[in-house]
């Protein structure tokens, strides 16, 4: 499996093809990404092109952005070895508080958003406190939270639906503004596409320079060019899709919020000390503690962060539906958790990525959307989604137990070697060396 590593000099090698989206690349979620592409193409064919029509892609982004935002927080919780079942209820409670603050207290929309974030942070601090400092399992704390915050939503809102003002609707139902000459597309969306393309090119160039500095060979130049070329093509195509729908629509604001959050949290989990500590605590809590990681603080922060992101998701949802209701956010936790596990996270913690979870979430979103487009009832949609989750994780688990490299884990973690850990461990237990006393039988 490390064969492509050694064939990175010059000229064409077949193995290099893998590098386009394989190891060493900027996109490491190859396995699940491939599944996503297959699903998109399948529905594109099955729905006679409706799936990738401008109206539908805008709809997918608006309809699933809040689930994907939850998945970002959820993957961090799961990496740290916890779970959060309360996110839907937290979103609902924040939604109602924000709606009431604008209707009854005449809070301007921007202060209402701040209030919503503060409420989310407070709820998160409460849950984080019980998990981190009292030691109640997150499953229990957030199960309690699920009831608590749902009840609070219905108590505060009198189990009623409360509308939100127009300006607030912008964050959930709004689009990038229209300006400049008539290009046939929305100019903001085109500009966004161009900026993203430029960043992709720059990143690839910088990545090559860094790898060269680190002494490892970068992939051949043509691999980089093909990779960036494909990505830029996808981005520009997406920009024309989002920007080419009817007047007044373009790339949704909720999508922009999602994009920014993905960038920020990818960076946090990958490149900051806090991010390292989250993986360390989830990977081996005792070893982390003995390395000076304040694991309780990490637990507290991931739980608190999750509720803040749930607040964001809740506000976007309320904005999009133009009202906060008593059953908002029902079942969101399950969608978010499913996205994270399809995206390659491990139930035991320590493994998972933000980008992987987003791709996992998109798999569910496109699947759901496509089935609905075909007029399949929500009963059957649920059954199919359940099976997809089961099969996706089962493939991952089976591959690991066979000692074969797991596409999802390997590529989402983006680390060589993290693949056969389960297998290596299994070998260890049947192969203790003579000098190492078995812990169960010292002697």
């Amino acid at each position: 499996m490390s064969a492509p590593e050694t064939t990175t000099k010059t000229g064409f090698r077949f193995g290099d093809l893998k590098n386009i989206f394989g190891n060493g690349g900027s996109l490491k979620q190859f396995g699940i990404l491939a599944a996503l592409i297959v699903i998109i193409l399948f529905f594109q064919w099955w729905t006679n092109g409706t799936t990738l029509s401008p109206g539908n892609v805008i709809n997918i982004v608006q309809q699933y952005s809040y689930i994907l935002i939850l998945a970002i927080g959820m993957v961090m919780v799961i990496i740290a070895g916890h779970i959060d079942l309360s996110v839907g209820s937290v979103a609902a409670l924040v939604g109602i508080v924000v709606a009431i603050s604008m209707r009854d207290w005449s809070l301007p929309w921007y202060l209402a958003i701040v209030l919503g974030l503060v409420v989310g942070a407070a709820i998160g601090a409460w849950q984080g406190f019980w998990v981190a400092y009292i030691g109640v399992p997150a499953f229990i704390v957030t199960l309690a939270g699920m009831l608590l915050w749902r009840g609070a939503n219905q108590f505060i809102g009198d189990a009623d639906t409360i509308p939100v003002p127009k300006e607030f609707v912008y964050i959930g139902g709004g689009y990038l503004p229209e300006w400049g000459p008539d290009t046939g597309y929305n100019n903001s969306t085109l500009l966004l596409g161009i900026i993203i393309s430029a960043v992709l090119v720059y990143n690839e160039w910088r990545g090559r320079a860094t790898r060269r500095k680190m002494g490892s060979d970068p992939v051949p130049l043509w691999v980089s060019i093909v990779r960036v070329g494909i990505l830029v093509a996808v981005v520009i195509y997406a920009a024309t899709l989002f920007g080419g729908y009817r007047e007044g629509t373009s790339f949704p604001v909720s999508g922009v919020i999602l994009g920014v959050l993905i960038l920020v949290y990818s960076f946090v989990t990958r490149n900051t000390i806090l991010g390292r500590h989250i993986y360390a605590v989830g990977g081996n809590r005792h070893a982390a503690a003995l390395s000076g990681v304040k694991s309780r603080r990490v637990d507290f922060l991931v739980m608190m962060n999750m509720s803040i992101l749930a607040a964001v998701a809740g506000m976007i949802f309320v904005a999009r539906s133009q009202a906060s209701g008593p059953f908002d956010g029902n079942g969101w936790e399950l969608d978010a958790i499913a996205a994270v596990f399809i995206g390659g996270a491990a139930v035991a913690g320590g493994v998972g990525t933000v980008v992987g979870s987003i791709i996992g979430g998109l798999v569910m979103a496109v699947l759901n959307n496509g089935l609905v487009l075909k007029g399949i009832g929500s009963d059957q949609v649920q059954m199919i989604k359940g099976l997809v989750l089961l099969v996706a994780v089962a493939i991952d688990v089976y591959n690991k137990s066979q000692g074969r490299f797991s596409i999802i884990e390997r590529l989402t973690r983006g680390r060589k070697g993290s693949t056969s850990s389960v297998n290596a461990e299994a070998n260890e237990t049947v192969r203790p060396d003579a000098t190492k006393p078995d812990p169960t039988l010292p002697g």
Binding site: A289, S418, D438
Partner: protein, 520 residues
């Protein structure tokens, strides 16, 4: 001793048992012969192969995975698992008790062996039998009480009651008194003697040589996977010294690097350190420990497993073990506070755990991330980790410690034990410690990597750092240390210059507290 019992027929004969693991011969032609109704002790250093031998006997390593045969009650037996050996009357009691804490005494005694019909348990009968069994081991406790609510000494007795219920003929006890206090140990040993009177033979593995001397009828000594000798305690007039000689009798190979230590002044001092066991409040695992480390010095800690050496080290390293009771630490003459790992690291301490996999590494991580994991702030600006600095640092250690790997992007789980240990060492060297505590740094590592690690220890000391090395291997301690403390049952029993020490004197101080006086 009762001669009639001692000359009883042979109940167990293990002939030329050889057990190989890939790359290692754990047992090499080991033979063991146990007579009916005797107490047979097995002695050997940690890692000599005692546990492996008992696992072969009890079917943990089933027939076919070893060479040689086991003759039990006159017939060759081929146990395929632990159940089949139990059915034959061989019961092993592990040091880590196999009881379920949240079930009652009765439930535990009959676990997997429940009396009753058609899956319905006869609790009345079970309870009565339980009371009888408990009486046989000298317990009068209520059989409905939960295991977690009785002390570890009584738990040990419940294990034996469970064994008796299985109609045990040969009882294997692995370090039965390791977790017990004096009184409980005495009671347990009396009980084993009592069982002997009823014709139950026992095999006992213990590091406490005084206990072995007191109860065993014969002793088999295992060294480096080979059975060295079998002694008859009475006929051969065996005493502790004789056992020690057998255990450590190998010659010291010259596998330690030459050192020209330049030892400076005392810079690290621990005074009157006391630690309580994390669960049982009546047990102190470290008692009044005092020791010093000088700059450029390698200080050895000799002690048998469970003696309190790891507990002492971990407790000093940020109160990471048990409950800290009292004690002071001075560094460069100033008292320092070490009540968290972060403070310990900031004060220049580093602790390399004896349990590399459970406490030393995150096995999901790659090498470069592991190397920097204990001091990320060193390569981070505004909390953002500089990944190229990380790579550079890891590369440096890969070269200087000769970590065998294609790249530092490799997962640590792909490395051999020796190379994993080098990664752990790199991780702690990266924190720029003044004092490194190395707990069993060469455990589970092949000989080549061992001597490389000795070289690293030498280099660290040569840089003026203090090094504490905890090891069960006495030749290793004697080879790398300048000065050695021995520890027994939580107490530091002696302090010897390595040049003046030999394995026998060390072993004496490691196995009994009363030798404190004549250690120097």
């Amino acid at each position: 001793m009762d001669n009639a019992v001692r000359t009883g027929p042979t109940i167990l004969e293990m002939n030329s048992i050889t057990k190989e693991f890939p790359g290692v011969k754990a047992l090499d032609q080991v033979s063991l012969s146990v007579k009916a109704g005797e107490i047979h002790a097995i002695c050997g250093e940690n890692g000599a192969g005692k546990s492996t031998l008992m696992k072969v006997l009890s079917g943990v390593y089933p027939f076919g995975t070893y060479e040689g045969d086991i003759v039990y009650q006159g017939a060759v037996v081929k146990f395929k698992d632990i159940r089949s050996s139990e059915a034959a009357g061989i019961v092993i009691i592990h040091q880590e008790l196999a009881l379920i804490p949240t079930l009652s005494v009765t439930e535990n005694i009959f676990l997997g062996n429940e009396p009753g019909r058609g899956g319905v348990i006869d609790w009345v009968g079970a309870k009565q039998t339980a009371i009888e069994l408990l009486a046989r081991v000298g317990l009068t406790d209520d059989p409905d009480v939960l295991i977690k609510d009785i002390g570890v000494g009584k738990q040990q007795l419940v294990e034996i009651a469970k064994a008796i219920n299985k109609n045990v003929k040969l009882l294997i006890l692995d370090e039965p008194t390791a977790a017990l206090n004096e009184q409980e140990s005495q009671h347990l040993l009396d009980l084993i003697r009592g069982l002997k009177g009823k014709g139950i033979a026992s095999i006992m593995i213990s590091h406490k040589l005084n206990e072995i001397e007191a109860v065993a009828d014969s002793i088999t000594i295992i060294r480096d996977g080979k059975s060295v000798e079998t002694l008859d305690v009475v006929a051969d007039g065996v005493d502790e010294d004789r056992i020690i000689r057998g255990m450590v009798g190998r010659t010291l190979e010259n596998r330690f690097p030459d050192r020209h230590p330049e030892i400076g002044e005392v810079f690290f001092e621990v005074k009157d350190w006391n630690v309580q066991h994390p669960i049982s409040a009546d047990r102190k695992v470290v008692k009044h420990a005092n020791f010093t480390v000088r700059r450029g010095e390698v200080v050895g800690f000799a002690g048998l497993m469970g003696a309190g050496r790891t507990e002492l080290a971990m407790s000093i390293f940020g109160h990471s073990y048990g409950k800290f009771l009292s004690g002071q630490v001075f560094k460069d003459g100033k008292e320092i506070n070490l009540n968290s790992v972060t403070k310990a690291i900031d004060n220049g301490l580093a602790y390399v755990s004896e349990d590399r996999k459970a406490l030393g590494l995150n096995l999901l991580d790659d090498i470069k991330r592991s190397v920097v994991s204990a001091k990320l702030t060193k390569i981070a600006k505004a909390d953002v980790v500089d990944s190229s600095a990380e790579y550079t640092v890891a590369e440096q250690y890969r070269k200087s410690l000769r970590i065998k790997t294609p790249t530092v992007n490799e997962g640590v789980n792909k490395l051999s034990g020796g190379n994993q240990q080098k990664v752990v060492l790199a991780k702690w060297m990266f924190t720029d410690p003044d004092l490194l505590i190395l707990d069993e740094p060469t455990r589970g590592i092949d000989v080549g990597a061992k001597s490389e690690i000795y070289g690293i220890i030498r280099d660290l000391a040569a840089q003026g750092k203090g090094v504490i090395i905890i090891s069960s291997e006495l030749p290793e301690l004697l080879g790398v240390s300048d000065r050695i403390y021995t520890i027994f049952e939580g107490q530091i029993t002696s302090e010897i210059q390595a040049a003046d020490a030999d394995p026998e004197t060390l072993m004496k101080s490691m196995t009994s507290a009363k030798k404190k006086v004549d250690a120097r």
